[in-house]
Protein backbone atom coordinates (compact mmCIF):
# COMPACT_ATOMS: atom_id res chain seq x y z
CA UNK A 1 0.00 0.00 0.00
CA UNK A 2 1.91 3.03 -1.27
CA UNK A 3 1.48 6.73 -0.60
CA UNK A 4 0.03 7.46 -4.06
CA UNK A 5 -2.83 5.08 -3.29
CA UNK A 6 -3.36 6.45 0.22
CA UNK A 7 -3.57 10.02 -1.12
CA UNK A 8 -2.88 10.75 -4.82
CA UNK A 9 -0.37 13.51 -5.56
CA UNK A 10 -2.96 15.69 -7.29
CA UNK A 11 -4.57 16.44 -3.92
CA UNK A 12 -1.42 17.60 -2.14
CA UNK A 13 -2.39 21.21 -2.81
CA UNK A 14 -4.28 20.83 0.46
CA UNK A 15 -3.20 20.18 4.05
CA UNK A 16 -6.74 20.17 5.41
CA UNK A 17 -7.44 16.73 6.96
CA UNK A 18 -11.15 16.85 6.07
CA UNK A 19 -10.49 17.77 2.43
CA UNK A 20 -7.76 15.14 2.13
CA UNK A 21 -9.99 12.48 3.70
CA UNK A 22 -12.48 12.73 0.84
CA UNK A 23 -9.74 11.45 -1.50
CA UNK A 24 -8.04 8.91 0.78
CA UNK A 25 -7.78 5.47 -0.92
CA UNK A 26 -9.46 6.94 -4.02
CA UNK A 27 -7.58 4.68 -6.49
CA UNK A 28 -9.08 1.67 -4.68
CA UNK A 29 -12.65 2.69 -5.49
CA UNK A 30 -15.70 4.01 -3.68
CA UNK A 31 -16.51 0.86 -1.73
CA UNK A 32 -13.09 0.84 -0.05
CA UNK A 33 -13.39 4.58 0.63
CA UNK A 34 -16.79 4.07 2.24
CA UNK A 35 -15.38 1.36 4.51
CA UNK A 36 -12.42 3.57 5.44
CA UNK A 37 -14.73 6.36 6.60
CA UNK A 38 -16.70 3.86 8.71
CA UNK A 39 -13.55 2.55 10.45
CA UNK A 40 -11.20 3.66 13.20
CA UNK A 41 -8.39 1.19 12.53
CA UNK A 42 -6.66 0.25 9.26
CA UNK A 43 -5.01 -3.17 9.15
CA UNK A 44 -2.37 -3.66 6.47
CA UNK A 45 0.41 -5.92 5.29
CA UNK A 46 4.10 -5.20 4.77
CA UNK A 47 5.70 -1.86 3.91
CA UNK A 48 2.58 0.23 4.50
CA UNK A 49 3.02 3.79 3.23
CA UNK A 50 5.99 3.14 0.99
CA UNK A 51 6.93 5.79 -1.53
CA UNK A 52 6.60 9.51 -1.13
CA UNK A 53 7.51 11.59 1.95
CA UNK A 54 4.11 13.30 1.75
CA UNK A 55 2.90 13.89 5.29
CA UNK A 56 -0.66 14.05 3.97
CA UNK A 57 -0.64 10.25 3.69
CA UNK A 58 -0.99 10.22 7.47
CA UNK A 59 -3.22 13.31 7.65
CA UNK A 60 -5.67 11.92 5.10
CA UNK A 61 -6.19 8.92 7.37
CA UNK A 62 -6.62 10.93 10.56
CA UNK A 63 -9.01 13.18 8.63
CA UNK A 64 -11.00 10.07 7.74
CA UNK A 65 -11.33 9.25 11.43
CA UNK A 66 -8.61 6.61 11.55
CA UNK A 67 -6.90 6.45 14.94
CA UNK A 68 -4.44 3.61 14.37
CA UNK A 69 -2.80 1.60 11.61
CA UNK A 70 -1.75 -1.95 12.48
CA UNK A 71 0.62 -3.30 9.84
CA UNK A 72 3.11 -6.06 9.18
CA UNK A 73 5.68 -3.30 8.69
CA UNK A 74 5.88 0.38 7.75
CA UNK A 75 7.96 2.40 5.34
CA UNK A 76 10.11 4.67 7.47
CA UNK A 77 8.90 8.10 6.35
CA UNK A 78 5.26 7.08 6.77
CA UNK A 79 6.03 5.85 10.28
CA UNK A 80 7.62 9.20 11.18
CA UNK A 81 4.75 11.13 9.62
CA UNK A 82 2.22 9.04 11.53
CA UNK A 83 3.81 9.71 14.93
CA UNK A 84 4.30 13.38 14.05
CA UNK A 85 0.63 13.84 13.15
CA UNK A 86 -0.73 11.85 16.09
CA UNK A 87 -1.65 8.68 14.19
CA UNK A 88 -0.83 5.48 16.08
CA UNK A 89 1.29 3.20 13.87
CA UNK A 90 1.71 -0.29 15.27
CA UNK A 91 4.07 -2.82 13.74
CA UNK A 92 2.61 -6.22 14.61
CA UNK A 93 2.74 -8.82 11.82
CA UNK A 94 0.86 -11.44 13.86
CA UNK A 95 -2.12 -9.18 14.55
CA UNK A 96 -2.11 -7.91 10.96
CA UNK A 97 -2.19 -11.47 9.67
CA UNK A 98 -4.96 -12.50 12.06
CA UNK A 99 -7.38 -9.65 11.37
CA UNK A 100 -10.25 -10.04 8.87
CA UNK A 101 -12.79 -7.57 7.53
CA UNK A 102 -15.21 -6.51 10.22
CA UNK A 103 -13.12 -7.76 13.15
CA UNK A 104 -12.94 -5.64 16.27
CA UNK A 105 -9.35 -4.42 16.73
CA UNK A 106 -8.22 -2.68 19.91
CA UNK A 107 -4.84 -0.98 20.28
CA UNK A 108 -3.21 -0.15 23.62
CA UNK A 109 0.05 1.42 22.46
CA UNK A 110 1.29 2.31 25.92
CA UNK A 111 1.06 -1.32 26.98
CA UNK A 112 2.27 -2.57 23.59
CA UNK A 113 -0.78 -4.73 22.94
CA UNK A 114 -3.19 -5.27 20.04
CA UNK A 115 -6.38 -7.27 20.44
CA UNK A 116 -8.10 -8.86 17.46
CA UNK A 117 -11.49 -10.36 18.32
CA UNK A 118 -10.35 -10.91 21.88
CA UNK A 119 -6.96 -12.46 21.06
CA UNK A 120 -4.05 -10.40 22.34
CA UNK A 121 -0.82 -9.75 20.41
CA UNK A 122 2.22 -8.00 21.81
CA UNK A 123 4.36 -5.44 20.01
CA UNK A 124 7.47 -3.57 21.07
CA UNK A 125 6.36 -0.34 22.79
CA UNK A 126 7.61 2.94 21.38
CA UNK A 127 10.74 4.55 22.79
CA UNK A 128 9.79 7.15 25.43
CA UNK A 129 10.52 10.13 23.17
CA UNK A 130 8.18 8.94 20.44
CA UNK A 131 5.47 8.08 22.92
CA UNK A 132 5.64 11.61 24.30
CA UNK A 133 5.13 13.06 20.78
CA UNK A 134 2.18 10.76 20.16
CA UNK A 135 0.58 11.55 23.51
CA UNK A 136 0.81 15.27 22.79
CA UNK A 137 -1.12 14.65 19.57
CA UNK A 138 1.81 15.10 17.21
CA UNK A 139 5.14 16.86 16.81
CA UNK A 140 3.94 20.45 16.76
CA UNK A 141 1.63 20.23 19.79
CA UNK A 142 4.52 18.43 21.50
CA UNK A 143 6.95 21.24 20.72
CA UNK A 144 4.47 23.87 21.89
CA UNK A 145 3.85 21.98 25.12
CA UNK A 146 7.56 21.60 25.83
CA UNK A 147 8.19 25.29 26.36
CA UNK A 148 4.81 26.87 25.96
CA UNK A 149 5.68 28.08 22.49
CA UNK A 150 8.03 30.77 23.79
CA UNK A 151 10.49 32.11 21.26
Amino acid sequence: MNTDVIIPGRYLVSIDPAELATHAFEPLGEEVQRRLLASKVVVAGRNFGCGSAREQAATALTGAGIQAVVAGSFARVFFRNAINTGLIAVECPEAAAAARDGDVVTVDYAAGRVEVNGTSYAFAPYPAGLQAILEAGGLLPYLQSMDGGAA
Binding site: N2, T3, D4, V5, P8, G9, R10, L12, V13, I15, E26, P27, R46, N47, C50, G51, S52, A53, R54, E55, A58, S73, A75, R76, V77, R80, N81, N84, T85, P127, G129, L130, G138, L139, L140, L143, Q144, G149, A150, A151
Partner: protein, 431 residues
Protein backbone atom coordinates in the same frame (compact mmCIF):
# COMPACT_ATOMS: atom_id res chain seq x y z
CA UNK B 1 40.95 3.05 19.82
CA UNK B 2 37.30 3.44 18.91
CA UNK B 3 35.36 0.68 17.20
CA UNK B 4 35.21 0.79 13.39
CA UNK B 5 32.19 2.74 12.17
CA UNK B 6 30.00 2.95 9.10
CA UNK B 7 29.32 6.16 7.20
CA UNK B 8 25.94 6.54 8.93
CA UNK B 9 27.44 6.12 12.40
CA UNK B 10 30.07 8.77 11.71
CA UNK B 11 27.64 11.34 10.32
CA UNK B 12 25.10 10.86 13.11
CA UNK B 13 27.81 10.97 15.80
CA UNK B 14 29.13 14.25 14.42
CA UNK B 15 25.72 15.87 14.05
CA UNK B 16 24.47 14.73 17.46
CA UNK B 17 27.69 15.35 19.36
CA UNK B 18 27.79 11.76 20.58
CA UNK B 19 30.14 8.82 20.28
CA UNK B 20 29.93 5.04 20.29
CA UNK B 21 26.53 4.99 18.58
CA UNK B 22 25.10 1.60 17.63
CA UNK B 23 22.32 0.72 15.17
CA UNK B 24 18.97 1.25 16.88
CA UNK B 25 20.16 4.11 19.10
CA UNK B 26 18.00 7.23 18.86
CA UNK B 27 19.70 10.62 18.85
CA UNK B 28 18.82 14.27 18.40
CA UNK B 29 20.77 15.26 15.29
CA UNK B 30 21.42 18.74 13.94
CA UNK B 31 21.20 18.58 10.12
CA UNK B 32 23.43 20.76 7.95
CA UNK B 33 20.65 21.56 5.46
CA UNK B 34 16.85 21.42 5.44
CA UNK B 35 15.40 21.13 1.95
CA UNK B 36 11.76 21.79 1.20
CA UNK B 37 10.35 21.87 -2.31
CA UNK B 38 6.66 22.01 -3.20
CA UNK B 39 6.06 21.39 0.50
CA UNK B 40 7.64 24.73 1.49
CA UNK B 41 4.30 26.50 1.73
CA UNK B 42 3.07 23.74 4.06
CA UNK B 43 6.08 24.39 6.30
CA UNK B 44 5.36 28.12 6.32
CA UNK B 45 1.68 27.53 7.15
CA UNK B 46 2.76 25.21 9.96
CA UNK B 47 5.19 27.79 11.31
CA UNK B 48 2.35 30.31 11.44
CA UNK B 49 0.68 28.05 14.01
CA UNK B 50 3.66 28.61 16.32
CA UNK B 51 3.62 32.36 16.89
CA UNK B 52 6.72 33.91 18.35
CA UNK B 53 9.05 31.24 17.03
CA UNK B 54 12.28 32.28 15.34
CA UNK B 55 14.39 30.39 12.80
CA UNK B 56 17.33 28.43 14.19
CA UNK B 57 19.53 28.82 11.10
CA UNK B 58 18.09 30.56 8.00
CA UNK B 59 21.27 29.71 6.09
CA UNK B 60 20.46 26.00 6.43
CA UNK B 61 17.04 26.40 4.81
CA UNK B 62 16.82 25.59 1.09
CA UNK B 63 13.59 26.03 -0.89
CA UNK B 64 13.15 24.97 -4.50
CA UNK B 65 9.94 25.45 -6.50
CA UNK B 66 10.18 22.29 -8.58
CA UNK B 67 6.81 20.46 -8.50
CA UNK B 68 3.72 22.13 -10.03
CA UNK B 69 6.01 24.61 -11.64
CA UNK B 70 5.42 27.08 -13.19
CA UNK B 71 2.11 27.38 -11.37
CA UNK B 72 -0.89 25.96 -13.26
CA UNK B 73 -3.58 27.12 -10.87
CA UNK B 74 -4.14 30.23 -8.79
CA UNK B 75 -3.97 27.98 -5.72
CA UNK B 76 -0.44 26.82 -6.62
CA UNK B 77 0.52 30.36 -7.62
CA UNK B 78 -0.50 31.55 -4.15
CA UNK B 79 1.71 28.85 -2.61
CA UNK B 80 4.69 30.03 -4.66
CA UNK B 81 3.91 33.62 -3.73
CA UNK B 82 3.92 32.71 -0.04
CA UNK B 83 7.35 31.03 -0.40
CA UNK B 84 8.87 34.00 -2.23
CA UNK B 85 7.66 36.43 0.40
CA UNK B 86 8.91 34.20 3.22
CA UNK B 87 12.34 33.83 1.61
CA UNK B 88 12.56 37.59 1.18
CA UNK B 89 11.43 38.33 4.73
CA UNK B 90 13.78 35.84 6.38
CA UNK B 91 16.78 36.28 4.10
CA UNK B 92 16.66 32.69 2.77
CA UNK B 93 19.52 32.81 0.28
CA UNK B 94 19.08 29.23 -0.92
CA UNK B 95 15.72 30.01 -2.52
CA UNK B 96 15.35 28.72 -6.08
CA UNK B 97 12.36 29.77 -8.11
CA UNK B 98 10.38 28.01 -10.87
CA UNK B 99 13.17 28.46 -13.42
CA UNK B 100 15.77 26.38 -11.55
CA UNK B 101 14.74 22.74 -11.93
CA UNK B 102 14.45 19.72 -9.64
CA UNK B 103 15.49 20.52 -6.08
CA UNK B 104 17.97 17.68 -5.67
CA UNK B 105 19.85 18.43 -8.88
CA UNK B 106 19.81 22.19 -8.32
CA UNK B 107 21.27 21.89 -4.82
CA UNK B 108 23.96 19.48 -5.96
CA UNK B 109 24.94 21.55 -9.01
CA UNK B 110 25.21 24.71 -6.97
CA UNK B 111 27.51 23.45 -4.25
CA UNK B 112 24.94 23.30 -1.44
CA UNK B 113 25.59 19.60 -0.78
CA UNK B 114 28.91 18.62 0.78
CA UNK B 115 30.39 15.23 1.73
CA UNK B 116 29.56 14.12 5.25
CA UNK B 117 26.63 16.57 5.50
CA UNK B 118 23.37 15.46 7.09
CA UNK B 119 20.54 16.70 4.88
CA UNK B 120 16.82 16.31 5.47
CA UNK B 121 14.28 17.02 2.76
CA UNK B 122 10.53 16.94 2.23
CA UNK B 123 11.11 14.42 -0.54
CA UNK B 124 11.71 10.72 -0.24
CA UNK B 125 14.38 10.81 -2.95
CA UNK B 126 16.61 12.95 -0.73
CA UNK B 127 18.74 9.80 -0.58
CA UNK B 128 20.27 11.14 -3.83
CA UNK B 129 22.64 13.40 -1.87
CA UNK B 130 24.78 10.34 -1.19
CA UNK B 131 26.11 10.81 -4.72
CA UNK B 132 28.18 13.63 -3.21
CA UNK B 133 29.03 11.63 -0.10
CA UNK B 134 26.27 13.20 2.01
CA UNK B 135 23.64 11.56 4.23
CA UNK B 136 20.31 12.58 2.71
CA UNK B 137 16.94 11.39 3.99
CA UNK B 138 13.28 12.24 3.54
CA UNK B 139 10.96 13.58 6.26
CA UNK B 140 7.49 15.15 6.42
CA UNK B 141 6.85 18.88 6.33
CA UNK B 142 6.04 19.17 10.03
CA UNK B 143 9.50 17.82 10.81
CA UNK B 144 11.12 20.35 8.50
CA UNK B 145 9.16 23.11 10.24
CA UNK B 146 10.17 21.78 13.65
CA UNK B 147 13.80 21.72 12.50
CA UNK B 148 13.50 25.28 11.23
CA UNK B 149 12.84 26.40 14.81
CA UNK B 150 14.78 23.87 16.89
CA UNK B 151 17.63 22.97 14.51
CA UNK B 152 17.30 19.29 15.39
CA UNK B 153 15.24 16.14 14.92
CA UNK B 154 15.25 12.62 16.30
CA UNK B 155 16.95 9.99 14.20
CA UNK B 156 17.48 6.29 14.66
CA UNK B 157 20.98 5.05 13.84
CA UNK B 158 20.47 2.69 10.88
CA UNK B 159 22.03 -0.65 10.14
CA UNK B 160 24.15 -0.57 6.99
CA UNK B 161 24.16 -2.73 3.88
CA UNK B 162 27.20 -2.90 1.63
CA UNK B 163 26.47 -3.20 -2.08
CA UNK B 164 29.17 -4.30 -4.50
CA UNK B 165 28.59 -4.40 -8.25
CA UNK B 166 30.98 -6.25 -10.54
CA UNK B 167 31.56 -4.26 -13.71
CA UNK B 168 31.91 -3.19 -16.37
CA UNK B 169 28.35 -3.19 -17.65
CA UNK B 170 27.73 -4.34 -21.23
CA UNK B 171 26.93 -1.69 -23.87
CA UNK B 172 23.30 -0.59 -23.58
CA UNK B 173 23.13 -1.38 -19.87
CA UNK B 174 23.33 1.43 -17.30
CA UNK B 175 23.31 2.22 -13.57
CA UNK B 176 19.50 2.48 -13.85
CA UNK B 177 19.36 -1.17 -14.92
CA UNK B 178 21.60 -2.17 -12.01
CA UNK B 179 19.28 -0.43 -9.57
CA UNK B 180 16.10 -1.89 -11.04
CA UNK B 181 17.68 -5.32 -10.83
CA UNK B 182 18.68 -4.70 -7.20
CA UNK B 183 15.20 -3.44 -6.28
CA UNK B 184 13.62 -6.45 -7.97
CA UNK B 185 15.96 -8.77 -6.09
CA UNK B 186 15.69 -7.21 -2.60
CA UNK B 187 12.11 -5.95 -2.85
CA UNK B 188 10.49 -2.59 -2.10
CA UNK B 189 11.23 -3.05 1.60
CA UNK B 190 14.57 -4.83 1.21
CA UNK B 191 16.52 -1.87 2.56
CA UNK B 192 13.96 -0.34 4.92
CA UNK B 193 15.55 1.82 7.62
CA UNK B 194 19.02 0.90 6.32
CA UNK B 195 21.95 2.94 5.13
CA UNK B 196 23.13 1.62 1.76
CA UNK B 197 26.82 1.99 0.93
CA UNK B 198 28.05 1.36 -2.62
CA UNK B 199 31.57 0.00 -2.61
CA UNK B 200 34.02 -1.41 -5.13
CA UNK B 201 35.77 -0.48 -8.35
CA UNK B 202 32.60 -0.18 -10.43
CA UNK B 203 30.98 2.46 -8.19
CA UNK B 204 34.32 4.27 -7.89
CA UNK B 205 34.43 4.56 -11.68
CA UNK B 206 31.05 6.27 -11.95
CA UNK B 207 30.43 9.97 -12.48
CA UNK B 208 28.46 12.02 -9.93
CA UNK B 209 25.47 11.85 -12.28
CA UNK B 210 25.60 8.06 -12.42
CA UNK B 211 26.08 7.87 -8.65
CA UNK B 212 23.02 10.03 -8.19
CA UNK B 213 20.94 7.46 -10.08
CA UNK B 214 22.18 4.78 -7.64
CA UNK B 215 21.44 6.81 -4.51
CA UNK B 216 18.12 8.13 -5.82
CA UNK B 217 16.72 4.70 -6.66
CA UNK B 218 17.92 3.28 -3.33
CA UNK B 219 14.84 4.91 -1.80
CA UNK B 220 12.70 2.44 -3.72
CA UNK B 221 14.08 -0.31 -1.47
CA UNK B 222 13.03 1.71 1.57
CA UNK B 223 16.54 2.94 2.36
CA UNK B 224 16.98 5.68 4.92
CA UNK B 225 19.98 6.97 2.99
CA UNK B 226 22.48 5.75 0.40
CA UNK B 227 26.05 6.79 -0.31
CA UNK B 228 28.98 6.34 -2.61
CA UNK B 229 31.89 7.16 -0.29
CA UNK B 230 33.68 10.39 -1.17
CA UNK B 231 36.68 9.97 -3.45
CA UNK B 232 38.65 11.75 -6.18
CA UNK B 233 35.54 11.93 -8.41
CA UNK B 234 33.59 13.71 -5.65
CA UNK B 235 36.50 16.03 -4.92
CA UNK B 236 36.89 16.94 -8.59
CA UNK B 237 33.16 17.70 -8.94
CA UNK B 238 33.25 20.02 -5.94
CA UNK B 239 36.56 21.56 -6.92
CA UNK B 240 34.97 22.61 -10.24
CA UNK B 241 32.44 24.49 -8.11
CA UNK B 242 35.13 26.25 -6.09
CA UNK B 243 34.87 23.97 -3.04
CA UNK B 244 38.18 22.67 -1.69
CA UNK B 245 38.58 19.29 0.02
CA UNK B 246 39.38 20.93 3.36
CA UNK B 247 35.88 22.46 3.43
CA UNK B 248 34.21 19.20 4.44
CA UNK B 249 34.57 16.02 6.50
CA UNK B 250 33.81 13.07 4.18
CA UNK B 251 33.07 10.70 7.10
CA UNK B 252 34.46 7.72 5.20
CA UNK B 253 33.32 4.33 6.49
CA UNK B 254 36.07 2.35 8.23
CA UNK B 255 37.27 -0.68 6.25
CA UNK B 256 36.24 -3.13 8.97
CA UNK B 257 32.92 -1.46 9.88
CA UNK B 258 29.99 -3.76 10.62
CA UNK B 259 27.36 -4.36 7.93
CA UNK B 260 24.06 -6.19 8.24
CA UNK B 261 24.83 -7.85 4.93
CA UNK B 262 26.81 -7.51 1.74
CA UNK B 263 24.89 -7.73 -1.53
CA UNK B 264 26.83 -8.54 -4.67
CA UNK B 265 25.50 -8.07 -8.18
CA UNK B 266 27.23 -9.28 -11.32
CA UNK B 267 26.82 -6.35 -13.69
CA UNK B 268 28.91 -7.91 -16.45
CA UNK B 269 26.09 -10.18 -17.61
CA UNK B 270 23.22 -7.79 -16.89
CA UNK B 271 20.61 -7.04 -19.55
CA UNK B 272 18.34 -3.95 -19.64
CA UNK B 273 15.67 -4.10 -16.92
CA UNK B 274 12.09 -2.79 -16.78
CA UNK B 275 9.96 -2.15 -13.68
CA UNK B 276 6.38 -3.09 -14.58
CA UNK B 277 3.09 -1.74 -13.18
CA UNK B 278 2.32 -0.91 -10.41
CA UNK B 279 5.30 -1.39 -8.11
CA UNK B 280 8.97 -0.55 -8.58
CA UNK B 281 10.04 -4.02 -7.45
CA UNK B 282 8.00 -5.74 -10.18
CA UNK B 283 11.11 -5.96 -12.35
CA UNK B 284 11.57 -8.01 -15.53
CA UNK B 285 14.46 -8.41 -17.97
CA UNK B 286 13.65 -6.51 -21.14
CA UNK B 287 12.92 -9.64 -23.18
CA UNK B 288 9.90 -10.40 -20.99
CA UNK B 289 8.14 -7.14 -21.89
CA UNK B 290 9.69 -6.13 -25.23
CA UNK B 291 6.99 -5.37 -27.79
CA UNK B 292 4.50 -3.95 -25.28
CA UNK B 293 2.71 -1.09 -27.06
CA UNK B 294 3.16 2.41 -25.63
CA UNK B 295 1.29 5.70 -25.85
CA UNK B 296 3.90 7.90 -24.24
CA UNK B 297 7.60 7.96 -23.36
CA UNK B 298 8.85 10.27 -20.62
CA UNK B 299 12.50 11.17 -20.12
CA UNK B 300 12.65 13.14 -16.91
CA UNK B 301 12.83 13.08 -13.07
CA UNK B 302 15.56 13.32 -10.46
CA UNK B 303 16.52 9.73 -11.31
CA UNK B 304 17.32 10.16 -15.01
CA UNK B 305 17.04 13.63 -16.55
CA UNK B 306 20.63 14.70 -16.14
CA UNK B 307 22.87 15.87 -18.93
CA UNK B 308 24.32 12.46 -19.72
CA UNK B 309 20.82 10.92 -19.69
CA UNK B 310 19.67 13.38 -22.35
CA UNK B 311 22.90 12.85 -24.30
CA UNK B 312 22.43 9.07 -24.21
CA UNK B 313 18.87 9.40 -25.51
CA UNK B 314 20.01 11.85 -28.19
CA UNK B 315 22.72 9.48 -29.38
CA UNK B 316 20.01 6.90 -30.13
CA UNK B 317 17.48 9.37 -31.57
CA UNK B 318 19.97 11.28 -33.76
CA UNK B 319 18.86 11.30 -37.38
CA UNK B 320 15.76 9.22 -36.59
CA UNK B 321 12.11 10.00 -35.97
CA UNK B 322 9.93 8.68 -33.16
CA UNK B 323 7.00 6.40 -33.95
CA UNK B 324 3.85 8.33 -34.80
CA UNK B 325 1.85 6.41 -32.18
CA UNK B 326 3.84 7.79 -29.21
CA UNK B 327 4.35 11.15 -27.54
CA UNK B 328 7.93 11.68 -26.34
CA UNK B 329 8.16 14.18 -23.48
CA UNK B 330 11.61 15.30 -22.35
CA UNK B 331 11.87 17.31 -19.14
CA UNK B 332 15.49 18.31 -18.39
CA UNK B 333 16.35 18.06 -14.70
CA UNK B 334 17.57 21.60 -14.28
CA UNK B 335 18.21 24.87 -16.04
CA UNK B 336 21.95 24.18 -16.07
CA UNK B 337 21.32 20.82 -17.75
CA UNK B 338 18.96 22.38 -20.27
CA UNK B 339 21.40 25.17 -21.06
CA UNK B 340 24.23 22.76 -21.72
CA UNK B 341 21.99 20.51 -23.82
CA UNK B 342 20.86 23.51 -25.87
CA UNK B 343 24.39 24.75 -26.41
CA UNK B 344 25.78 21.47 -27.68
CA UNK B 345 22.87 20.57 -29.95
CA UNK B 346 21.31 17.78 -27.90
CA UNK B 347 18.01 19.59 -27.60
CA UNK B 348 17.94 20.21 -31.36
CA UNK B 349 18.51 16.49 -31.94
CA UNK B 350 15.64 15.58 -29.62
CA UNK B 351 13.34 18.15 -31.25
CA UNK B 352 14.23 16.88 -34.72
CA UNK B 353 13.31 13.36 -33.63
CA UNK B 354 9.87 14.56 -32.57
CA UNK B 355 10.29 15.14 -28.84
CA UNK B 356 8.37 17.69 -26.83
CA UNK B 357 10.76 19.59 -24.55
CA UNK B 358 9.26 21.03 -21.36
CA UNK B 359 10.61 23.39 -18.74
CA UNK B 360 13.02 21.89 -16.18
CA UNK B 361 11.37 20.46 -13.07
CA UNK B 362 9.56 17.36 -11.86
CA UNK B 363 7.00 17.42 -14.66
CA UNK B 364 5.14 14.26 -15.61
CA UNK B 365 6.89 12.13 -12.95
CA UNK B 366 4.69 13.85 -10.38
CA UNK B 367 1.65 13.91 -12.66
CA UNK B 368 2.40 17.55 -13.41
CA UNK B 369 1.57 17.73 -17.14
CA UNK B 370 2.00 14.74 -19.44
CA UNK B 371 -0.67 12.68 -17.68
CA UNK B 372 -2.43 9.67 -19.19
CA UNK B 373 -6.00 8.77 -20.13
CA UNK B 374 -7.69 5.49 -19.16
CA UNK B 375 -5.96 2.48 -20.65
CA UNK B 376 -2.78 4.30 -21.72
CA UNK B 377 0.81 3.22 -21.11
CA UNK B 378 3.95 5.27 -20.49
CA UNK B 379 7.54 4.12 -20.38
CA UNK B 380 9.33 6.52 -18.04
CA UNK B 381 12.90 7.10 -16.84
CA UNK B 382 11.55 8.13 -13.42
CA UNK B 383 11.73 6.24 -10.15
CA UNK B 384 8.12 5.42 -9.35
CA UNK B 385 5.29 3.66 -11.22
CA UNK B 386 2.49 3.67 -8.65
CA UNK B 387 -1.09 3.51 -9.88
CA UNK B 388 -2.49 6.92 -10.68
CA UNK B 389 0.84 8.73 -10.38
CA UNK B 390 0.63 9.99 -13.98
CA UNK B 391 -3.08 10.61 -14.46
CA UNK B 392 -5.72 7.90 -14.77
CA UNK B 393 -5.89 5.15 -12.14
CA UNK B 394 -6.44 2.87 -15.14
CA UNK B 395 -3.12 3.73 -16.82
CA UNK B 396 0.21 1.91 -16.62
CA UNK B 397 3.78 3.10 -16.01
CA UNK B 398 6.91 1.13 -16.91
CA UNK B 399 10.33 2.30 -15.66
CA UNK B 400 13.61 1.93 -17.54
CA UNK B 401 16.84 3.66 -18.55
CA UNK B 402 17.00 6.70 -20.87
CA UNK B 403 18.43 4.46 -23.61
CA UNK B 404 15.50 2.04 -23.33
CA UNK B 405 13.18 5.06 -23.37
CA UNK B 406 14.74 6.45 -26.54
CA UNK B 407 14.74 3.09 -28.33
CA UNK B 408 11.10 2.55 -27.32
CA UNK B 409 10.10 5.99 -28.61
CA UNK B 410 11.49 5.02 -32.01
CA UNK B 411 9.34 1.90 -32.28
CA UNK B 412 6.28 2.78 -30.19
CA UNK B 413 6.86 -0.41 -28.21
CA UNK B 414 9.12 -1.39 -25.32
CA UNK B 415 12.40 -1.99 -27.12
CA UNK B 416 15.83 -3.32 -26.19
CA UNK B 417 18.26 -0.38 -26.56
CA UNK B 418 21.13 -2.68 -27.40
CA UNK B 419 19.73 -2.80 -30.93
CA UNK B 420 20.63 0.88 -31.22
CA UNK B 421 23.71 1.30 -29.02
CA UNK B 422 27.01 0.66 -30.73
CA UNK B 423 29.39 -1.46 -28.70
CA UNK B 424 32.05 0.44 -26.81
CA UNK B 425 30.42 3.80 -27.40
CA UNK B 426 29.79 5.68 -24.19
CA UNK B 427 28.52 9.18 -23.76
CA UNK B 428 30.81 11.32 -21.69
CA UNK B 429 29.21 11.40 -18.28
CA UNK B 430 28.59 14.54 -16.30
CA UNK B 431 25.71 16.07 -14.40
Amino acid sequence: MSAPRTFAQKVLERTSGSSGLKPGDIVDAYPDLYMSHVASWRCIKTLEKMPGRTLYAPDRIAMVMDHLSPAQSSRTAAHHQLCRAFAQEHGIEKFWDVNAGIAHLVLMENGHILPGNLIIGTDSHSTIYGALGAFGTGVGFSEITATWVTGKLWMKVPESIKIVVDGPLPAGVYPKDVMLRLIGQLGADGGTYCSLEFHGAWAEGLSISERSTLCNLSMEMGAKNAVVPTDKVTEAYLSERGIAADAYDPSLPDPDAEYRETVEIDGRQLVPQVACPHTVDNVQPIDAVAGTELDQVFIGSCANAKYDDLAEAASILKGRTIDSRVRLIVTPGSRQILTRAVNDGIIATLLDAGALITNPGCGACAGDGGVMADGERTLSTANRNFRGRMGSYDAEIFLASPATAAASALTGRITDPREFVRSGERVEAAV
